[in-house]
């Protein structure tokens, strides 16, 4: 990946005056106006994100579901068609290749949506493990562009424009629909802690959709706001809360690992962890003094280093310095007093739950 790529919406980002940076090999908009304004648009109204950099992979064939259940932490075989499941691809040792969404398209086909930064690694990983399964794994990233429309007004504006009957759609389901005369995949999913939808189609359709939504006053939001929003909702970002050196149990995502289903890659390691207890745990941290805990800053309990910050911000919604941090389990109890080292000084704070924000999902 030497050449930096552009999404089909790049020209629009430039025309809107976005600050553009290389992210995962794509020239992506970081912010159009102000991160705080874009953040609040999603919390209180409706905003949209160009997420065309995300990777899409189709798995199809007689053994498609059995294969996905073998490489994925979640369970897909018994789910209804039209269901979306969040989970992870795991290494044998239980650490994480990537986190992803799996769309159950039929009894012989799944649609996987993976992180842009990991898409080549994921694709190779799937190919490497497909032995013994009658399945085709197809990288479709170049066929699809994607827009995420997020916020309490997302359903209303999309239904008014395109008559999609979205009120009948449950959280974490998808359907094929018609927008502007073209077939799209639309799911009630997102990465903001708000209700919202993610729409996948060919680049030309997404370009027109984006233009229509802009004209309707939907706020374009950059990756800056995408990160502050997902952080407040305690949603993990690969490379921060989860990685190839962190397990889903440490990160607090046991819920997304289905131990009841058959064998899957990483299962035996995680089962051992489950019995012995994880050595580290992801917690929330709130500082009592004004300072901003950033990724990598060290966390101390009684002057002993016990872990580090995975993501931290001066929370836009709460106006408080909060962070997610990966700490030694024996020091990770809620209420424990901690300090965070910031520019060689120690700032007081405490361990708290990760519910920084009440999520506003439509169940």
């Amino acid at each position: 990946m030497s050449e930096v790529m552009k999404t089909c919406l790049y020209d629009s980002h430039v025309a809107l005056g976005a600050r553009i940076e290389d992210f995962a090999g794509y020239l992506m908009p970081i912010v159009y106006t102000k991160i705080t304004e874009e953040h609040q648009a999603v919390r209180t109204n409706v905003g949209m994100f160009d997420v065309s950099h995300m990777g899409e992979i189709t798995v199809k064939g007689k053994d498609a579901l059995r294969f996905v259940d073998y490489v994925f932490s979640g369970e897909i075989t018994t789910k209804e068609i039209g269901k979306v499941v969040y989970g992870m691809l795991l290494y044998e040792n239980g650490t994480i290749v990537d986190d992803l969404l799996v769309y159950k398209v039929s009894e012989t086909e799944c649609f996987l949506v993976v992180n842009a930064s990991n898409q080549d690694k994921d694709y190779s990983w799937l190919l490497k493990n497909q032995g013994g399964f009658e399945v085709a794994v197809i990288n479709r990233s170049h066929d699809f562009a994607e827009v995420a429309v997020q916020g309490p007004k997302a359903e209303q504006i999309l239904d008014e424009l395109f008559d999609l009957n979205l009120d009948t759609m449950n959280f974490f389901t998808f359907k094929f629909a018609n927008i502007l005369g073209q077939e799209v995949i639309i799911s009630r999913t997102g990465y903001t802690g708000e209700d919202g939808f993610e729409i996948y189609s060919d680049p030309e359709t997404i370009r027109v959709l984006w233009k229509v939504l802009l004209q309707e006053g939907v706020t374009p939001c950059g990756l800056g706001a995408r990160d502050t929003l997902r952080f407040e909702a305690a949603l993990p970002l690969y490379g921060h809360e989860i990685s190839d050196s962190i397990t889903p149990l440490e990160a607090g995502f046991k819920f997304f690992v289905d131990f009841e289903k058959g064998d899957f890659i990483g299962k035996s390691s995680l089962q051992k962890d489950l019995e012995e207890g994880s050595k580290r745990r992801l917690v929330g941290i709130e500082l009592s003094e004004m300072a901003i805990p950033r990724q990598g800053y060290k966390v101390f309990v009684d002057d002993e280093e016990v872990g580090y910050v995975t993501t931290g911000y001066l929370s836009i919604s709460l106006n408080k310095p909060i962070a997610l941090a990966l700490l030694r389990s024996d020091k990770a109890k809620i209420g424990t007093k901690i300090t965070v080292e910031i520019r060689k000084k120690h700032y007081q704070g405490f361990i708290r739950d990760k519910k920084f924000l009440v999520k506003n999902y439509k169940k």
Binding site: I35, D227, L314, R343
Partner: protein, 126 residues
């Protein structure tokens, strides 16, 4: 385009220095720096009475996304910090040459010769 004021001294780290009188100076960040940072949400300032040293970190300005160290353009003692920035850090975005960060009694004013004049700074801040 960013603004550069005449009559100030500038560091390559994008701080400005304004001589008030005698050896007393104000230090802030330039228009170019605030544009690069984006919306500033917090300014970490040193304590009054503390020492600052030429090219050493003395605090930070933080945008939503990132912290950026402040490197002192002078050596001396901090005699005041701009308390307005505690509640309104965005003043730096609005008027970077008015929103000073620290007031310093400089040990040796000849040290300012290390800094750039407005014409030289203009060249590196485009």
């Amino acid at each position: 385009m960013s603004t550069v004021l005449e009559g100030l001294y500038y560091s390559e780290d994008h701080e400005w220095v304004k001589v008030i009188e005698g050896n007393v100076v104000l230090v802030g960040i330039t228009d170019f720096a605030q544009q690069q940072l984006g919306a500033i949400v917090f300014v970490d300032m040193p304590e009054v009475g503390s020492k600052v040293t030429f090219e050493d970190e003395f605090g930070a300005v933080e945008s939503v996304k990132a912290a950026s160290d402040l490197m002192s353009p002078v050596t001396g003692s901090v005699i005041a910090v701009n308390e307005d920035l505690v509640s309104e850090p965005e003043l730096i975005n609005e008027d970077p040459y008015r929103a000073w960060i620290i007031k310093v009694a400089v040990d040796d004013m000849s040290e300012l010769e290390n800094l750039l004049d407005s014409a030289s700074y203009q060249k590196i801040s485009r």
